[in-house]
Symmetry: C2
Subunit: 147 residues, 2 copies
């Protein structure tokens, strides 16, 4: 491998998924990161997490939603994708619009509060920094699309 | 399952990947679908295809680029994602910005021509209908970002 190749390939790519859980009023579920996390404690986010090796994205987002909220969900559309760098890995974060199909909301230890938030109010919430601008862009696009 | 659940879950989600292969002049590689395809013959597209079961997206886009162009590529960033419906499945198409790392361009039987196209000229090309607007949006955003 030449220098350019080593550089471009040195940090692997990995996928994370997020569930943009929308209710019939187009409010979305945000959950707050608890002090069991090592990063971004107190920040609000969409449920989700890493795709396991060999797992497809649809299975992953349903599993993560179940683990973090105890809700059963169905994917209804694509919210979009964004990417960011971590020390060891580069992440593509795929965000899926979802609906709750069953279950009662119960958080895991990774989160300590939840809120159903109108799209237009998202800017008032302290969101995780890496995906804040993506989340706000999504909400703006969706408000305009639905008008 | 209730009716809504059956409806939302009846058509599975699947992932496809596309390689937006950029050269140092920010031209992108387009390849033309040959008459060995059952759909979209003569339309131009980015190299790519379906993610195999159990395969991660980064492996898939490199494999598809190799199969369709004989080029070895590295992922340099995220171009974006779009989604569309097929008769049996709903597709999330993840598009990765890539660079050529090695190999000599040689097409498979699925394509019969190629071109390196400036971002600003993309609108003049007959692109596959399902992703045409996504491709043009991407090119417009990238031209503005790079200015």
């Amino acid at each position: 491998m030449n220098t350019m190749q080593v550089e471009a390939d040195s940090k692997p790519w990995s996928m994370a998924v997020k569930a943009v859980l929308l209710d019939p009023q187009d409010r979305m579920l945000l959950i707050r990161r608890s002090n069991k996390n090592s990063h971004f404690v107190g920040k609000w986010e969409w449920p989700g997490g890493k795709v396991d090796p060999g797992e497809d994205f649809a299975t992953a987002v349903k599993r993560e939603a179940r683990e973090e909220t105890a809700l059963e969900i169905a994917i209804i559309g694509l919210a979009g994708a964004t990417s960011f760098e971590m020390p060891q890995v580069r992440i593509v974060m795929l965000c899926l619009e979802c609906r709750v199909m069953g279950g009662q909301l119960q958080l895991s230890k990774e989160h300590d509060d939840f809120a159903w938030v109108f799209l237009r109010d998202l800017g008032n919430w302290p969101l995780t920094d890496q995906v804040r601008s993506f989340m706000l862009d999504y909400a703006t696009r969706k408000v305009h699309r639905d008008e």
